[in-house]
Symmetry: C2
Subunit: 406 residues, 2 copies
């Protein structure tokens, strides 16, 4: 509590603090929340003396008329910065074209690499801004954005600079993950070791020196890089004291999550083919499971991530849109929450924790955001709903009333 007056006082809120206590949704009895310098400085009732003393003429009082307040949503796994889209190859596939035919017509991830390399920084900003706007309109206050459609030094830098600019241009917190090890660029066809060496020895240190990396990610699978190759990257990452994330066990079990956990990774993401040993390692080292039902849906995957085992070992479960032009052209957290319920049988409360408390952990930001507690950033989402379960139930409409970025 500061002696000075509040900047902003929200009253008549129903507050779902999303703290991990016994109350569903961390719901509070208190109905008021005060903001000072972008932080939550007080939670209580309007009749309490702190509210009366610290509400001055300069305090903006906002009556929420009984609406629900939750932490601002955190989308902890996106590939939001890219050029072009892949709607036409999606259409080709639905008309019966084979994967080979689509690749021959220039489709697949390398088509996005080509367009992203060719795009100017301004073009990339413009295209990405519309996706970011859709997310902010849906209540997102923090978004992680990965590189990985450059696969060369220049374009990887360009992507991360675009991500940085988007964060500066908008009332949103952007976390930048370096995903140079996303796919094999055409220049290194057949030489994954050679490309990984470039990532480890040239791209990672150069881009880190520019201050553009908040975390390092990689794609470990049969069509990406082997766990051995990724291990080399993570060793170098560890020396730089950068946090680690990993696309793991999406298409097969490469034991990548277990390997990443031993590096104390913030998160392992996708995880449809994760096994119990991997889960035990994640639990032991505090690695968050980030589930991505959008890609599960678009790829018509049938193998589901091991929810029961993740719950059994108390591994925190986050959700994210995985926004990308190929396997998850999705910008709606609410839709992903719904898919997590329908496909994975996650409860509405687990789903909301997946976009708040646990998503903050997956970004290493849980001391600052993800729950509504004094001392945390005042990232808030206010909803026109009568019950928090509605956020996971209804899809298509956007029940947001307002969003506050702390």
């Amino acid at each position: 509590m500061t002696g000075e007056s509040f900047d902003r006082l929200f009253i008549n809120a129903r507050i779902a603090a999303m703290t991990a206590d016994v109350k569903p949704y961390g719901a509070l009895q208190s109905s008021a929340l005060a903001v000072k310098s972008g932080k939550i400085v007080w939670i209580g009732d309007p009749d309490d003396s702190p509210a009366k003393e610290a509400t001055g003429p300069a305090t903006e009082v906002i009556d929420l008329e009984g609406r629900w307040m939750t932490p601002g949503l955190i989308d902890c796994h996106t590939h939001l910065v890219f050029a072009g889209n892949r709607a036409e190859e999606f259409e080709m596939g639905l008309k019966g074209a084979s994967y080979a035919e689509i690749a021959k017509a220039g489709g697949g991830i390398l088509s996005t690499v080509r367009k992203t390399r060719a795009a100017s920084e301004q073009e990339l900003i413009r295209e990405s801004q519309s996706r970011l706007q859709a997310m902010m309109d849906a209540g997102v206050t923090t978004v992680e954005i990965k590189s990985g459609y450059g696969l060369d030094l220049e374009t990887e830098i360009k992507m991360l600079e675009v991500a940085k600019h988007l964060g500066e241009m908008n009332p949103v917190r952007v976390q930048k993950s370096f995903l140079g090890a996303h796919a094999l660029p055409p220049e290194f066809a057949g030489d994954a070791d050679g490309y990984m060496s470039k990532v480890v020895h040239e791209m990672l240190p150069t881009i880190h020196a520019l201050g553009l990396i908040d975390a390092v990610d990689a794609f470990c699978d049969t069509i990406g890089f082997t766990a051995e190759q990724v291990r080399e990257l993570f060793k170098a990452t560890q020396k730089l004291k950068l946090p680690i994330k990993l696309h793991a066990e999406q298409l097969s079990n490469q034991h990548g999550a277990e390997m990443a956990a031993h590096f104390k990774a913030l998160s392992a993401d996708h995880l449809e083919y994760l096994d119990e040993d991997g889960i035990k390692a994640m639990a032991k080292y505090g690695t968050v499971a980030v589930l991505l039902p959008g890609a599960f849906y678009f790829l018509r995957e049938t193998q589901k991530p091991p929810l029961d085992l993740l719950r059994k070992y108390n591994v925190p479960i986050a959700l994210a849109t995985d926004c990308n032009p190929g396997s998850s052209p999705v910008t709606s957290p609410q839709l992903i929450m719904n898919m997590a319920a329908i496909f994975f049988r996650m409860t509405p409360e687990e789903a909301l924790a997946g976009f708040t408390r646990n998503a903050a952990k997956a970004l290493g930001l849980d001391a600052e955001i993800g729950t509504l507690e004094t001392g945390k950033r005042a990232d808030l989402a206010i909803w026109n709903i009568d019950h928090p379960a509605e956020l996971t139930h209804m899809i298509g409409a956007n029940p947001i009333h307002m969003r506050h970025f702390g």
Copy 2:
């Protein structure tokens, strides 16, 4: 062409007329479209002499800067008017409650009946308006709305009056379907014949006399009414010369679509369990197949509607949100188009035809709406996209630029 000047002239459009010709999406070479008194009166190029002659000082010229124009979307199957929501029973189910436990706690369709009966007309309008607004924001210019949560004379009338008022209050065309035969009300538990007799002999003629019925619908399945019971309703409907629609073959094959087709039904809807005989009858009598992927998804159905056979017999295929509080709490046509592609392998062009040309047929309005042709209503949707396939590909964001209601 009228001798007077155009009310409105759209220029620099890429026009997807959605006519059933050889061009994908019925795409036109012409880039301009003129509106007079709510109708499309001319399509051509701005340099053509009609455009020059009929563009007067009173003509509003709207430069679409290369954006795509499609027919306004038509949502031909919704239960949009209802009170309350069922998010909490959705949550109970995900926490492991059985169907019986949820029913005991007051859940299921009868909970919506209870709330809809209790709601005032003003409350129903307010709750339904937010769903309708979401649809309009997504490009919908025509929506069908069913009764069926009253299951008594008074509330069925109230629902259809609310639907009518919503149409009068908003720039949208509302078609009202009487669905008294939606479920068995508690007052008639165990006496489906008795309730159907009330529907046929009291509700149908009374509500029709009030001018509130554009079509008559029923739910024919193991948990609804038998084909024999529905046949009695349709005989009475036929005598009143009202169009017929049917919820058919959603959970099992009751041969309802075939029966409805023999009544020259406008549409048979759901159709997961439809067989070839049913399809042949639909083809013969011009009955549209309305597919509802939202309910397929929410109910985790695995039996898919017979797309290949529907295509083989040239049965027009429409799509709809099925917006309802239980099995499809969805207000986004685009999301449904995407689900039709992912789950049923419909192409983006089929999906868009499902919300335009074929949806118009499913409402008996194909002479007025559903394609962009001179003489039709100027119901238009303008999109910030580079290719019409994007409407089916990207989900969560709303690429609408503007909507025009003729």
